[in-house]
Symmetry: D2
Subunit: 472 residues, 4 copies
Amino acid sequence: MNTDNKNLLKVINTTDEGELQALERQYCSFGDTVHYLEPPKFFDRAEGVYLYDRGGTPYLDLQMWYSAANFGYGNQRLQQTLKNQLDKLPQLACQYLHPEKVQLAAAISRLNKSKFGLDGRVQFNVGGSQAVEDSLKIVRNHTGKTLMFAFMGGYHGRTLGATAITSSYRYRRRYGHFSDRAAFVPYPYCFRCPYDKKREDCGLYCVKQFEKNFETEYNSFWDAKAGEPEFSAFYVESIQGTGGYVVPPKEYFPALKKVLDERGILMVDDEIQMGFFRAGKFWAIENFDVAPDIIVFGKALTNGLNPLSGVWAREDLINPQAFPPGSTHSTFSSNTLGTAVGLEAVRMMLETDYETMVNEKGAYFLQQIRALQKKYPKVIGDTDGMGLALRIEVCQADGYTPDRALTDKIFAEGMKGDLDVRGRKMGLVLDVGGYFKNVFTLAPSFTITREEIDLGVELLDLLIRRCAPDRI
Amino acid sequence: MNTDNKNLLKVINTTDEGELQALERQYCSFGDTVHYLEPPKFFDRAEGVYLYDRGGTPYLDLQMWYSAANFGYGNQRLQQTLKNQLDKLPQLACQYLHPEKVQLAAAISRLNKSKFGLDGRVQFNVGGSQAVEDSLKIVRNHTGKTLMFAFMGGYHGRTLGATAITSSYRYRRRYGHFSDRAAFVPYPYCFRCPYDKKREDCGLYCVKQFEKNFETEYNSFWDAKAGEPEFSAFYVESIQGTGGYVVPPKEYFPALKKVLDERGILMVDDEIQMGFFRAGKFWAIENFDVAPDIIVFGKALTNGLNPLSGVWAREDLINPQAFPPGSTHSTFSSNTLGTAVGLEAVRMMLETDYETMVNEKGAYFLQQIRALQKKYPKVIGDTDGMGLALRIEVCQADGYTPDRALTDKIFAEGMKGDLDVRGRKMGLVLDVGGYFKNVFTLAPSFTITREEIDLGVELLDLLIRRCAPDRI
Amino acid sequence: MNTDNKNLLKVINTTDEGELQALERQYCSFGDTVHYLEPPKFFDRAEGVYLYDRGGTPYLDLQMWYSAANFGYGNQRLQQTLKNQLDKLPQLACQYLHPEKVQLAAAISRLNKSKFGLDGRVQFNVGGSQAVEDSLKIVRNHTGKTLMFAFMGGYHGRTLGATAITSSYRYRRRYGHFSDRAAFVPYPYCFRCPYDKKREDCGLYCVKQFEKNFETEYNSFWDAKAGEPEFSAFYVESIQGTGGYVVPPKEYFPALKKVLDERGILMVDDEIQMGFFRAGKFWAIENFDVAPDIIVFGKALTNGLNPLSGVWAREDLINPQAFPPGSTHSTFSSNTLGTAVGLEAVRMMLETDYETMVNEKGAYFLQQIRALQKKYPKVIGDTDGMGLALRIEVCQADGYTPDRALTDKIFAEGMKGDLDVRGRKMGLVLDVGGYFKNVFTLAPSFTITREEIDLGVELLDLLIRRCAPDRI
Amino acid sequence: MNTDNKNLLKVINTTDEGELQALERQYCSFGDTVHYLEPPKFFDRAEGVYLYDRGGTPYLDLQMWYSAANFGYGNQRLQQTLKNQLDKLPQLACQYLHPEKVQLAAAISRLNKSKFGLDGRVQFNVGGSQAVEDSLKIVRNHTGKTLMFAFMGGYHGRTLGATAITSSYRYRRRYGHFSDRAAFVPYPYCFRCPYDKKREDCGLYCVKQFEKNFETEYNSFWDAKAGEPEFSAFYVESIQGTGGYVVPPKEYFPALKKVLDERGILMVDDEIQMGFFRAGKFWAIENFDVAPDIIVFGKALTNGLNPLSGVWAREDLINPQAFPPGSTHSTFSSNTLGTAVGLEAVRMMLETDYETMVNEKGAYFLQQIRALQKKYPKVIGDTDGMGLALRIEVCQADGYTPDRALTDKIFAEGMKGDLDVRGRKMGLVLDVGGYFKNVFTLAPSFTITREEIDLGVELLDLLIRRCAPDRI
């Protein structure tokens, strides 16, 4: 080893947090989300529902890597599966087969058959965005069209293709022209109805407005003469993730799907954040009584141990004639480690009644935060949830105007790790979402106990009192 | 557990290869590359330089997952690192920091500083394509332009954005309009010079032809009045991967870079396949004496244990002002498992003199296959290599006309696992590349021994004699 | 002259209508609008407010070439101007100057200065679409952005660029991908309010809905952090032409312009059909109390004698630094014949009080068709107008459901030329527009007399009675 | 008339050249080509082969409005036709028919049938760019693809769609992203061969290089598996106009067409500048023995009296099923004035042997400028021509290096109108083209006499001696 290399090793082998912070500032791109918090936070260890900082302080985590670690940090069954695969077949070019890939694809496809009555197949990839890209290929291939509908408030990833169908213009602004920019449609965010209606008597006005787009050719989306739409698919998160864990009215999706079906427009269901029981069902869309044409999934499939993602599509969209060899590819697409863990996670989901567990815990948690809302009406404007996907919308004293500053403050204070809970120093890890960045999107571990839920609520209570003393 | 789930578990828990093949045919997308071979091949175990099928037959692997497993299957040091991280911090939202991310970014950035004299930073992601997408963002952000140059024969991934700069039209054909399709430039593939020149006296005609594009505004790429190019960056693989492990003349890249620098066009160096000593240097481009503006990497960084990828860019392109928080993101972008393994791999690369090792083994291997070429001039038209990236171009009896059929046959026979090597039944795993799909692109493990190289050549010899008895 | 040519001359010199119909069927593209009527109609002569067919039957023309011949067919003053220019400077490369170009540009610019208080300049071209294309260049150059807003029901031409901002998908369907497709916004078509509101108490809900698009970055159009919109301009027809001569509420455009101004989005006012006093003012937009940033004009400027068109833009958008030499060009852009006639037409418009004349005639005509509506409430659902741009919306017996079939029938019967008006055989030339193709868009000559208006109403009455005897 | 209008009329009615220049500077966009010369030049009268400035000085015109006025300024036959149509049917909505439209379409279609053996139809429009746009629609409709090949040095107009297939990047630079940017192919400009070959022994290397693009899928343009090209048509000017009146080798186009036909790629022949006998044949492409699939024409069809343009296409591309009603449209598309004049011009072309006339005059003129080249080898590097399309390439003393400065100087001196020709003060109107803007592209009137040719050569001689005294 030459001297240069020795010196370099010395530099990078540091464990001093100050030096690490300095290295980070000099050598890491700030382009990801780390520097939304200054200074960024180091964590050292993760277990169950807790993250631990380098000083050993526990932080109750109510976001679980944005719902990627649904089954708890350090879940032993899944970790052991990964270790076993490491010892047997740690690597294999994806051109070749190993059982777990096949078994996992079969499991998901057969589950979908039982849920939706539809035959279909699975294509794996890594990272949610790449699965979204594969779904775009399937749609474009099938329809011959490149334009998509998607929701305002929707999020589907950050590749250029996924960015084109993700609502936030901030994600596109600096990257030139997006030839396939989606047409973004208002989502049924009833607390802040885009049409200022009340759910009680709106008659699904938002669906009717969407349907109006197809009334004549001059509404721009439809050629009545040819009976053909300009747009090929509608990308949906049935419960918006980044958009703020917004739960739509039960009747919304069936009504929307009817409009789409009548125009030959596909529905692509993005389950990357809400899939795998986050919303109390295997797929969140199952709560809404529609059968999507394509499902995209990722994140929690491996409990965060591998970026495995995938797309399931209806047989006619993805059969070997429609989507022949060479249609897509990526080096790690069905890697042995990811598929082994994913398969084990699905086995767990088959063996365990997560539907009951998640809904019960979710109901209890929602009850607690509703009590918090009642206690602090000048801080919390809305709470809602489905399964263990819960929302707390932080508002100004009027209970409606979004209060982003307070949201940020509560978040930052939680990260300090200095909350005193019966003599114990703790922190609270939250995630902020929502159109106005004023929503705590809670995605606790499915392993969370009632006591830990109570602790979470207590920490929230402490934070509210600390950050908004004048509004309690 | 309900009966349905029990039944489903029974189905997917099968270990019978016939049943697995049937499940695969029914539930797996054929859209990846598995069905290039019929029936697809199952492998069971991997170790060192061998894959083992379910019957225990060893297959010498000369492609190592297309250069993703450079350090050998089941490399113990890297596997142990993964296990350790699993036991400590298996999961962490990428919004937060852990040391290994920082250390790895620092190591790569400091190495690049010493190699190229340039300050810069690293942005991680997962999957090579997503790192390419991040590089596109950096380029588009910096130049305000969306059009790129790339090489004929070049390959940069299969997301829509990466497909637009990947040469093969087959990858785009069924997916509608690509607004950002690159302008593809002939690559210096001297064995089949695109301009029918001879290297001895061509005077780098290909670079001159490229430069001519900027002679006047009417050549379509340049506004002389404004001194501004229409295209923002040139994506290169210094040694083409999928294109057939083609090694360019030493003088090519310096001459090309000069043309680009004079027009303000960036060079993005895709090291996904050739990086991390495959071509005998940390980066393949180091063999060619130019400093790229951006480097994209992936694959072998984790030896195939995690899809971690990344992009390094010059400081002015990626500093916090140029590429501020929120510029990109992906859930798994700097995941703890991938960065821990990547960091350990870089430590290995610093501690071990891979440059000498890879070049020595490569020279020996190249010598052997050149002997094979001499022995079978009616089968092998060209051999070449740099480091342990080697090529064997299979041709018809004239030694020039590409022979794809024979290439496919040799490949398929190698996969049968019935080659008799001194009484031992073996297989040979090859990868086929090249513009005409007639090139064996050899990427053996860095841990391969002389004996194993000899074995590889012996297996190749056996296969040639079996598949082309009339041409030996 | 050779025999072939002689024979060809014989063929084409035919004046027999049957032979001409046959030649048309064989050699003319059906791609324009001629074959909306079968068989297509030949006309032979035009004078004043009448077209004459080959048999000499007069057809009262209430559409005047879709408002291109505002000053009457065969207007002697303008025709003489054309003849004079023919005798003096019939041709001149547009690289060189002649007085009429300069005088016409000066006249329009100074008029706009007095109307809107804005300095500006004129760029000429030929055909409305090309002027629209020039306006797109000005917008794209100024903003660096390529995406536009436009109205549902809006029409801006049929070049590919103009088609991208024209609402009807039918115009795009067969022509592949439109990278710059506009986002189409509902127009204030109050008779069929896109939001089912009533004008009395809507509070300009449609403007509020448009403004909501900019509420957060997740509404997809706005980056609040950067204070920057994704879209660069809003293309409007203040009164929709092809959309059915729909007159918006007076308060609409000032409210819309405020929203645009606050976001730095330009307003491009397409006056191609409504300009030059069709709506009672020099520009139709003058009725609505806003100052557009760009005005596009064409059609009636030469009374249909030359396709001269043009774009006026605010000085900062079009000054020689912003829009330097070579920014656009077309061979005939400021041709001597067109500019001479256009200049004379503007002189006429300065000398004559068309504002009073057109509004008086329009008011009288509107009164007559409102009486007709009262008489036939089961046929006419809506009438409205501004200046001499008038609409009659043909509906089913309920007075609301669009009746396209009846509209087509009335149109076709009018073209037969067999209406008996006090013993005289006549025809009526109408134009059909509207989202549902059920609107007669009346654009009579400014030279029309009260008697001719009465005659028009009588012919309409006759046609209604003939075509809808059961609903009178 | 109010006072404001009176004052405005006073201002614009000025005939003072200084005031007109001032108005022009203030109110005219500089975005066209007028200000390539400073100060811009006013002309007052045009007749035969002369333009006259306001002082009555004659300028011999060797560019004839870039070949729009082939039949001489003020051609009485055509002017009378226009006047007659003015008196009969000066206006008619293009939805209705008049004989001249049909007759002209029939004449062109039947001529093409006799020339190329192909049935077809004509679609009219106004302005060459709009005809190009119509041709793009026909191609996109037929192939379902949006990408085109075009030549480096090629020019097809300045709408956004035409700009995308026009080579000069300067025309695109300030207008954002062009999603349909053509792939530009080197044109056979043998004097400056793009491949540095000599015509004598090049073996049409340029065609071979173009064909190589289709060798494998990795050359980026062709999917060999599907037998499908990515690009739909090749836009050609058989003799480049703006590119510098470059005449290709006779064998070029047949060889190119073969390559295109074998790949299913259409050839669109842009005859806007070279059509109607400029190159000695009705269509310039007739000189090169290929049958194009689509022909676009404009300019000289009306001798500059009306912007009438059009596209002829093969029957299968444009028949009523392929290109049905509503496929395109423009208000003035088949206006009565333009079609009447165009029809009369075609009658003239049938009655008169322009082929002989133009080729004889052209041969004589070419002989004269070749003599000039011999006389001034240090000024003129190349001369060439076909019909009355002639080129003089101004070079530095080496006879090769382009001399743009001298070209500009000669051009500007010619515009001064102070050349002394046997005691008479005269000017010379030239046009500058070419990749390096160093080519005089001569397009004299077909009515030019030998004496006038001699005069032109004398004026050129005078200018050379005045501008380059050191090189004579």
